[in-house]
Structures are given as C-alpha cells and as structure tokens.
C-alpha cells in the first residue's frame, strides 16, 4: 500500500523483452532491452500503475461527481431512447417528486425501509461479511411480524411493538445459518446467503398461497392488518416509519462512532488478523454485527408490510436486497451517508413507478439505473486509488 516511489527503470523493464513468452529467445544485452521496447509496443509500456498515498478530498469529490454525472448521462440517454421526452425527465425526477407534498410523503415512506437495508448492508460490510441475504432476512422479519398479527398476540396497544420485536428476532435468526457456516466451516457467505434468499422466498409463497391466504379474495396475500397492526401516521400525514429509520440511523451511528464495539469493528475492517493479534474479540464482534445486520433487515421487512403494503404479500421485498448493497457501497458504509443515499434511491423508486404509469417503462429500468450508478462509482475508485505515471519516456 505504500508504493508511491516511481519504479526504477530496471523494475519496469525487466519483463518487457520477454513479453512474447519466447523461452528460446537469445539473451539480450542491456542496450537491446531498452531501445526496441518502445518501438515495439509503445501503447503497452508507457504507463505504470501506482498506488496513491492519499488524494485530497476535494479531488476525490470531483472524481466522484464526474463519475455520477457520467452515469446519469448514460441513464438519461437510455431513458430518452426508451421514449421519455428529455424535457420532462428533470420534471419527473426532481420537481415532480420533491416539489409535491404527496410525492414527498411517498418518497419518505419509501426511504424508511431503504435506510434500514442500507444500514444493514453497511454494518455487515464493515465486518467484512458479504450479507447478500437482506431480502431473505426481510422475508423472515415480515413472517415473524405477520405471525404476531394473525395470531392476535398481545393487546391492541402492544401489538405493533410485539410485531417489531418479532421481526427483529426473526431477521437476526435468519442471519445465523450463514454466520455459522462461515465461522465453523469457512463456507463463503456470498453463496449461502443468496441460497437462503431463494429458500425464504419459496417459504413465503407457501404461506401466502397456503394457510395464511386471505380467504376473502383470490390474491396470494394475507388478510389486511387492522389499524393497531399498522404503522401510525404522524402529523401532516408522514408515516412514523421514517422516524423509526432516523432513530435506527442514529443508533448505528452511535454504535460505530462512539461505542467500544465500533472501535473494535474498525480494527476488524482494517485487518481481522491484526485485530485478532492485538486482542480484539474478532469472532464476537463479527457475529454481533452480522446478527444486528439481519435484525435491521428484518425490521425493514416489518416496516414494508406494516406500512406500505398493510398485509403480507408475495413480493413485498423485491429490489430491496440490491438497493441495500448499493446504498452501503455508495455511502462507503457510513450510516449518515447511507441515510442520504437511501433518500435518493427512494426518489428513484418513486419516479420509476410514475415512469411506469405515464410512459409504460418497465420498473426494471430502476434496477438498470442502479447498476449503472454502481458501475461508474466503482470504476471511479480506480482514479482515486491509482495514478498512471509515464515510464521511460525520457530515456
């Protein structure tokens, strides 16, 4: 990580004469190494890649801004090609969503679960655990909450709290199998969490087509929740979900920035081996953080079904898994930044739905836009981390 010293010409030249892998090439003299090299492949040899020590933050921000502009330009081109008039894009995305009180409420409503999955992903990634099972954990959280609601457990006054607690517990439990597989057997959590997503999705279908199916209509969903089982509205018609999301964001911020576990976690993210060597309880920290990540995803599931949907549906979790990963990635695993990015993603979702209604553009456009943003931001990292420096031109 410390190699900012320009490589000596000897380093840079060493493999050059043997580029064709010609084992029988006669030994070459020192002069012969230098002169024909540039003539033969100038476009291959001219630059060396150097790791930067650090880039000033304003230049980092400039690179990032340039990358996002490029991504947005690509997305605009795709949207225009798909038939959205260019003039109305700005109107649709910015003015239409943030200028209108109804739409602003919709964005904040949509943002609440996004903040939670974003925080869940950010926590797990900080513990170097690729929790790709956010959707499965959301499903389990929602199943737990619905079980409380359908079972009429508790009084109407405590029902919502019990549902939340059940979602939290079920989400955390859903994170246990991949955690155990990784810690006991060293099985990559990337595959196991994804497989558990598919399993959770099928079990959800089993419930909504089976014993939890609403007998009153033909659709695969549970009966609607009564008022005591739904998230209440605050003054002005804003959902309390966004308040819950803000509280959770502050809790995670406190955990990461102010608590002992946060300090430990910083060691673990930097290097688990060094952390182990200096006495950080690495396994406990990772296990605790991953369980918390699952719990947050479970609460996100609860918020979706007790807020937007009002019942357990077959596909309420769609798109949240990738959104969570994307939010954590774009926010550099920072909880406060995750909140901001989640708001932007919620704007994208709400606009995506209105594009669907007004221009018949499939909702998968939203996923494509998200993926393009991840790709450009990931690519821009290259210019922040490395420097291309010309080698051997002066010789």
């Amino acid at each position: 990580m410390t190699s900012t010293v320009p490589p000596s010409p000897a380093d840079a030249c060493a493999p050059a004469h043997a580029l064709d892998g010609n084992a029988c090439a006669p030994p070459v003299s020192f002069d012969a190494v230098h002169t024909p090299r540039h003539r033969r492949r100038p476009w291959r040899r001219r630059y060396a890649l150097e790791l930067r020590q650090e880039m000033p933050w304003h230049r980092q921000a400039a690179v990032l801004a340039l990358a996002i502009m490029t991504g947005l330009a690509i997305c605009t081109a795709i949207l225009v090609a798909a038939g959205v008039p260019a003039r109305e894009l700005l109107d649709e995305f910015i003015v239409g969503t943030l200028g209108d009180a109804d739409n602003l409420r919709a964005v904040l409503f949509q943002a609440a679960p996004m903040v939670m999955v974003g925080l869940a992903a950010a926590l797990a990634f900080r513990a170097r655990f690729w929790n790709l099972g956010l959707e499965g954990q959301m499903v389990w959280g929602a199943i737990g909450a619905t079980a409380v609601a359908l079972g009429d457990i508790g009084t109407p006054g405590t029902r919502l709290w019990l549902m939340g607690a059940a979602a939290l517990g079920c989400g955390a439990m859903a994170a246990v199998p991949p955690l155990l597989l990784r810690m006991r057997l060293g099985i990559s959590e990337i595959i196991s969490t994804l497989m558990l997503n598919y399993i959770a999705a099928n079990l959800l279908l089993n419930l909504v087509y089976g014993q939890w199916k609403d007998p009153r209509d033909a659709f695969p969903h549970s009966r609607g929740f009564v008022d005591a089982e739904r998230l209440p509205e605050l003054a002005g018609g804003y959902s309390s979900a966004i308040l819950l999301a803000a509280v959770l964001m502050l809790v995670v911020w406190w955990l990461l920035q102010r608590s002992r576990a946060g300090i430990y976690l910083r060691f673990v993210s930097a290097s688990a081996r060094v952390a182990e060597a200096i006495g950080v309880p690495v396994r406990h920290v990772v296990a605790g953080i991953v369980l918390l990540s699952g719990a947050l995803a479970g609460i996100a599931g609860f918020v979706v079904i007790a807020g937007q949907a009002g019942r357990l549906t077959q596909d309420f979790y769609g798109g949240y898994g990738f959104s969570g990963i994307l939010i954590a990635f774009l926010a550099r695993n920072n909880p406060v930044a995750a909140g901001v990015v989640a708001l932007l993603m919620a704007t994208l979702f709400v606009s995506g739905r209105s594009l669907q209604v007004f221009y018949q553009i499939p909702f998968s456009m939203v996923q494509l836009i998200q993926a393009i943003l991840v790709i450009v931001v990931a690519a821009s990292d290259f210019f922040i981390r490395y420097r291309l420096s010309p080698v051997g031109r002066a010789e």
């Binding site: 010609n22 057997l185 998968s364 790709i375 990292d381």
Partner: protein
C-alpha cells in the same frame, strides 16, 4: 420402471446448463478472476438466444448469438476487474444486477416475454435408443452430445497445452507469470471472454432449448448454483460434470415424484435445489478439511508495481 427411464431421459437436458455455466466459470476463475456474474450472463444468453430465435428461426444460430452476447456483456466486467481493479465481488454483483435490469427491460420493450420458440430437434443414435433404461440418453439434442466433448476439449486445453499452462500460471501467481513474460491482463481478458461465452451458451440453452421462451429472471438462481458447483468441484472439469449431473438429476426428479403420485408441498420442493447447494457446499468442506484447490490469486486484481 417407466418412471426411472423417463427420469434418466430428462437428466441431461437439465444438467447441461449447470455443466456449461460451471465450465465457463472454471475457465475464468483459473485465470484468477472471481466470476460471480454467471447469473446475469446466463440471463443475457437466454434473452439473446430467444430474441435471435424469434428473428431468424434457427436454434443453432440462436445459441451462437447467446455465446456472443455473453462474451459481449462480459467486456464490461473485464474492463472493471482487469483494468480498473474494481473489487471483484462488487463487480460481479453489479454485473448480475445490470444484466437482470437490462434483460427484463429489453424483453418487455421488444415484446419477447412468454413468446414460444422452437428448440433443437432430438437426434436418435440409431438402435442405441432402443436399449432399456439408458435408451433415452441416446435420444437427446445436439448440445447434450456436444457437452462432454466441450468438457474434454477444455480440460485438455487447460491441463495439457502451453496456453492452459499460462492461464493457470496467471491464476496461481501472476507476479511470477508476469516475470516469465506472460501477459497477465491479456490472458485474464481472454479467460473472461471465453468463460462468459460458455456461460452465455448455458443461458441460451435454458431459453431456447429447455424452456422454449423468455421470461424475466428465468434462470432462477442457476447461475449462483453454478458458482457453488465450481467450489464443490474444486475447479476440476471432471468433478464439475459429475456435480452438474447431480443437480440435473435432482431437478429432473421433482416432476417425476409428482408423476409417481408422491405429493409434497410444491414450494418446499422448489426449495430443494438451493438446500442441496448448501448441503453440497457443507459436504465439500467436511470431506476435505484444509485442502484447497482454489487458484491462489483468485479475486486479487493484478498490479505490477504493488509490493507484496
């Protein structure tokens, strides 16, 4: 008896996508590039294949288009991981989501959703098809017959040729390979392109030959299962073929059980491939503790100037 015969007859058709996708992943991963994008590339292959079949009505041509589409989209992945040194997990996930969004968008924009297409004709191997029990194995389409040959060719190339040696060298120790004059980045690019073409073919097979239509997200996690299969097979083509037959056998068993009158809750049965993937990964760890055949440089971007 009839059930067993028809089960055996269905296994190859379901095993081929797993086999080809996992083989493609092996080619890519042997060069040290962690390839998580299979799920997305299979979707691209399936969509491109079905689209070509709808336009030109030639299954062979459609499968070639699938391969080209898989390789074409993987250029994006190659630029990310080979030159821009993006974290290979992030790049792979981004590729999957990019392809999911792109394919379901293009599918509905072009009106290809649920449009039936014709697949490949079965080729009967003369009197062999009349044999008891194994007879149906000799009444398959061309790709099924070609798959073992493709496997043999790839295994021979990787293990027995200079090109294969370079590929493995780049995956095991890129620094040494570079010092020996092997163009690391170029070999990784070619490995990604070649491997992705095979993954695209696997997707095209699912769309054109197995399902005869395009539906969004039709691969249903088979790409991820292929990734797990490669780990289970420890990057060996021979064990991959065996693993693909295992998964093909399980997928073929599900409708047979229903036909035999054994009624299981539908959605529990649909969980089976994913549960078995987990079981297989556990088994491969428990059976061989400590032994690890993964390419040493798997997942590490190569930077010549980096001190190690």
């Amino acid at each position: 008896m009839n059930l067993i015969t028809s089960w055996i007859g269905n296994v190859p058709d379901l095993a081929v996508p797993f086999a080809l996708a996992a083989l493609g992943l092996i080619v890519t991963e042997r060069s040290g590039v962690l390839a998580l994008g299979a799920e997305g590339l299979m979707l691209v292959g399936a969509l491109a294949g079905v689209g070509a079949q709808l336009a030109f009505h030639s299954a062979g041509f459609a499968l070639i288009v699938s391969m080209l589409a898989g390789a074409g989209v993987s250029v994006l992945f190659a630029v990310m991981v080979v030159w821009l040194r993006v974290n290979q997990v992030i790049a792979g996930l981004a590729l999957v989501f990019f392809c999911q969004g792109l394919t379901s968008l293009l599918g509905s924009v072009n009106g290809w959703n649920n449009q039936p297409v014709s697949g490949l004709e079965a080729i009967t191997l003369g009197p062999l098809a009349q044999l008891p029990i194994v007879g149906p194995l000799c009444n398959q389409n061309l790709v099924v017959y070609l798959t073992p040959l493709i496997f043999a060719a790839v295994a021979w190339y990787v293990d027995r040729t200079v090109g294969g040696l370079r590929l493995r060298a780049v995956g095991e120790n890129p620094q040494a390979a570079d010092a020996a004059g092997v163009p690391v980045l170029r070999i990784r690019l070619l490995a990604i392109l070649a491997g992705s073409a095979l993954v695209g073919l696997a997707g095209g097979y699912i769309g054109v030959v197995s399902a005869h239509m395009w539906t969004p997200d039709m691969t249903a996690g088979r790409g991820w299962i292929a990734v797990a299969l490669v780990i289970f097979a420890r990057w060996s083509p021979r064990r991959t073929l065996a693993g693909a037959l295992l998964f093909g056998g399980i997928e073929a068993l599900i409708p047979q059980l229903a036909a035999a009158g054994i009624s299981l809750p539908q959605y529990y049965v649909l969980c089976a491939p994913y549960l078995i993937t987990l079981a297989v990964m556990i088994q491969s760890v428990v059976a061989r503790r400590g032994e690890d055949d993964a390419p040493c440089a798997l997942g590490e971007p190569y930077i010549r100037e980096e001190r190690r």
